[in-house]
Amino acid sequence: MENVTQHSEPHYDPEASKLGMWLFIFTELLLFGGLFIVYSIYRFLNPVAFQLAGEELNVVIGAINTIILLVSSMTIAMSTTALQQKNKKLTLFLLIVTVVLALVFLVNKYFEWGTKFHHGIWPGSPHLINDMSKGEILFFGLYFVMTGLHALHIIIGMIFILVALKRVQKGTVNADRPSLLENAGLYWHLVDLIWIFLFPLFYLIH
């Protein structure tokens, strides 16, 4: 039972809010999990083609993006600590760093995809359909869908974090009402979790 001192904010329920966020995260697990199942079966059926196609990907850019996401996960986790310690300035700073890192991730992705397009590789491209094996077409199809869907989550995560940032600035998200920031953090860590599996499965096939 909640105590009565929170009567001025009758609709604030941090436990329920967190539970709701987790339920949403479980649905995301099924979304990406389904794609991982498709990936694993096609890889099992086309091991050589997946290896050949995987070597086309740039491990260095992949590794840099991995580290960027890991650092951004740390900064947003730290921002909740800063909020709880009532250090608003540091909270805002850490959130801005997180958003900037997300942006850098997307810029890297832009160049990475750009190089692929330059080499004539995009879903349904003539080069892909005419010159490559079925397994390679499947690999690049999954690559674009899964990293694309992940990039979409990065964009949504950035918007989520920016909303939280605005609310921290206004003071409606504060040490006593941190739920929105915590949930933005949970979402951002989910984006990180997905990448933790995407990176080895696409970039580290040899």
Binding site: G33, I37, T81, L193, I196
Partner: protein, 94 residues
């Protein structure tokens, strides 16, 4: 009933977790250059699993959350594992 005070995780804990995560990223990249054949996928997945556990436990605060959240997360992961297992059984022994 007054809830236990919200646990505040010190900054350095998050930093140590980050270091562990980055180290494991480099280890999984290093693994590629050692020829393990079919086991390299397994190795990469083991590193990914350890990394996700760290993210779930520390970054996502499960360590300090209500036990029912932890139970739910483990349960959902097990359900997903069952889904994987059944799909593979169907596919590979058809």
């Amino acid at each position: 009933m007054e809830k236990e005070k919200h646990h505040i995780v010190p900054y350095r804990v998050y930093f140590y977790i980050l270091l562990a995560l980055i180290t494991m990223t480099f280890m999984s990249i290093g693994l590629v250059h050692i020829n393990l054949g079919g086991y390299s996928v397994l190795g990469a997945l083991i590193f990914s699993t350890i990394k996700s556990t760290l993210v779930l436990t520390w970054f996502m605060h499960l360590k300090f959350d209500e036990p029912f959240l932890r139970i739910m997360v483990v349960f959902v992961i097990l359900v997903f594992a069952a889904l994987l297992f059944i799909t593979y059984l169907d596919y590979f022994f058809r």
